[in-house]
């Protein structure tokens, strides 16, 4: 297959899974995972324990229901919503109803409630003009109710507030508060959401300014190191495309100094960033500034033809032997035919 190795490699690279794929896959999994898992560990003890818990919950509910009219609740302590993946259907005495599928925690007292939504989609109805205050809080943002009917959905990509009636104030970290009116929706992105959005814009050919703008506030939401790493790479790539070389260089230096980021990043990322830094450094401070980066690349197994040629260009005057060796090595890599011919001529081949 040597004749077609390049094509197969190109095909393999183009069918590789991307971070955007993973963000989509996680979001779909969170939205569609089965409620119950068939499990081998359901020992008789666990079954008895679970049965006991269900019976206790039923007894508690039975005791609670007659105390409030029309099956409405008036809790003064925290209430877990959607435990055991059960559908949520809660009606509060003061005029708030919560339904849907998801997990969260209801806190506060009558007229001043908060729901911390962990996952899933919940539907809220708040009686208008009754002085009721309800906040729905997630890691990505806060929705404050102004007498309305609305949905809040939390998945891997972030938190989306969709308003059916009335008005909801949505606060996403780093952004100004917006009022979402009936028929409209607003999303506060998670780190995965920012990354997916940024990469999608980049792949769609949007200008790097647009990509940078899209991920500008990603640092204000909590993120696992793998996502922080990919977001940092996307930012550095965009800065480099904008010829903001100083900022790109600082970004690479900060990235490589952060062990957590390097450890969580894909294996090829540090080399890619060193290559990008070498290119930026030449622009900013010429060969002198680029040499540490070029040395690091040249000393690794990852050096590509362009790295070797750049290295040779920089050391040509001071160390012609090293430059010659680098160019000879470069001829064993994929090079543009014109450049290859030029190098061969230079080497007298």
């Amino acid at each position: 297959m040597t004749n077609y190795r390049n094509e197969l490699d190109a095909y393999a690279a183009e069918t590789e899974s991307t971070p955007v794929d993973m963000a989509i896959a996680r979001a779909r999994w969170e939205a569609g995972r089965p409620d119950q898992r068939v499990s081998a560990w359901m020992s008789p003890f666990r079954l008895a324990f679970t049965g006991g818990m269900v019976a206790a919950a039923a007894a508690l509910l039975f005791a609670l229901l007659p105390s409030t009219p029309d099956n409405q609740l008036d809790p003064t302590g925290p209430v877990a919503l959607g435990e055991q993946a059960a559908p949520v259907d809660v009606s509060l005495l003061e005029g708030i109803s919560i339904s849907g599928e998801g997990q969260g925690l209801l806190t506060g007292t009558a007229g001043d409630r908060a729901v911390a939504l962990d996952s899933g989609r919940m539907h809220f109805e708040v009686t208008p003009n009754a002085g009721l205050h309800l906040q729905v809080v997630t890691d990505e943002g806060t929705a404050t109710v102004l007498g309305t009917v609305f949905d809040v959905e939390r998945d891997a990509l972030g938190t989306t507030v969709s308003v059916e009636r009335g008005k909801v104030q949505v606060d996403c970290p780093g952004h100004e508060a917006v009022y979402v009116t009936a028929g409209r929706a607003e999303t506060c992105y998670s780190a995965e959401g920012y990354l997916g959005h940024g990469r999608a814009l980049q792949q769609a050919g949007e200008a790097p300014e647009v990509v940078l703008d899209a991920i500008a506030h990603a640092g204000e939401v909590s993120a696992e190191p793998a996502f922080r790493a990919e977001l940092a790479v996307l930012r550095i790539e965009s800065l480099s495309r904008l010829s903001r070389h100083d900022e790109a260089l600082s970004g690479v230096e900060a990235f490589l100094a952060d062990d957590a980021l390097v450890g969580a990043a894909a294996e090829h990322r540090p080399t890619e960033l060193r290559r990008l830094a070498a290119r930026a450094a030449v622009q900013v401070g010429g060969c002198e500034r680029a040499m540490p980066w070029l040395d690091a690349l040249n000393g690794s197994d990852e050096a590509e033809g362009v790295d070797l040629v750049q290295y040779a260009t920089c050391v040509g005057k001071s160390d012609p032997g090293a430059a010659r060796a680098a160019l000879e090595q470069a001829l064993d890599t994929d090079l543009e035919p014109k450049l290859e011919a030029r190098i061969r001529k230079l080497l007298g081949q």
């Binding site: 094509e7 260009t313 032997g321 230079l346 080497l347």
Partner: protein, 224 residues
């Protein structure tokens, strides 16, 4: 199965329902399942649909796998392959019985931008792979694209090593024959030059010397 990082401890933790273990297990294998699906099925099924169904099967049936810490990759491969076949059969029945429109050849999960960005040579490779019989295609994908050695392919597919070798030989012959037709020498694609009928492509788009700030190569005539 050295090409895939099987983590027996993680599987045991997932089976014991330790917090976060399921998510870690699925995170580790999602890229592999998506890759398998894209390469085995081309654009004929939505890889994210397959991934979702396979994830559910892992979730519900991992405990039924014997010695999962050892056999998980091959079990997962079989499950993925069955799911691809099931979806392809369903699409075929729908097309034939309901006179539905033929499926879009592009990968729906990639999105229009990414599909548009797929290089011409990659598109041709996909086309040729889809022309191979299933048995030949899977050895090609596992050996040539996934990087498994022939013994690992045999283990994965639960067939003899000799069977893998003969399927691979037939697959290569057929691939090269199709490739010669679809990529005739002299047909310059992707801006690359050809040598002996092959397209020379750059692995990394940034590997383009014109991107670099060359101001002219210095003389290196001194030698060592």
């Amino acid at each position: 199965m050295s090409a895939y990082k099987n983590n027996p401890e993680l599987i045991q933790r997932a089976l014991a329902n330790e917090p976060g273990a399921w998510d870690q297990l699925l995170d580790a294998w999602r890229p592999v399942i998506l890759r398998w699906t894209r390469r085995m099925a081309g654009g004929r099924v939505d890889p994210h649909d397959v991934l979702q169904d396979v994830s559910v099967l892992i979730w519900t049936h991992l405990h039924t796998v014997r010695s999962p810490e050892r056999t998980f990759p091959s079990w997962l491969y079989r499950v993925t392959q069955r799911e691809i076949m099931r979806r392809r059969r369903r699409a075929w029945v729908r097309r034939v019985m309901l006179m539905d429109s033929p499926p879009d050849r592009s990968d729906p999960a990639l999105g229009p931008e990414q599909n548009a960005q797929m290089s011409e040579s990659a598109r041709i490779v996909e086309q040729i792979l889809q022309k191979l019989p299933d048995a030949q295609r899977e050895v090609m994908v596992l050996h040539e694209l996934e990087g498994l050695n022939q013994r690992e392919v045999a283990e994965m597919l639960d067939v003899k090593l000799g069977t893998v070798k003969s399927r691979l030989r037939l697959a290569r012959v057929r691939f090269e024959r199709e490739a010669r037709e679809l990529m005739p020498p002299g047909d310059d694609q992707d801006g690359g030059d050809r040598k002996d009928g092959a397209v020379l492509t750059f692995k990394n788009p940034s590997n383009n010397p014109s991107d670099l700030p060359f101001v002219g190569l210095v003389s290196v005539g001194g030698g060592r």
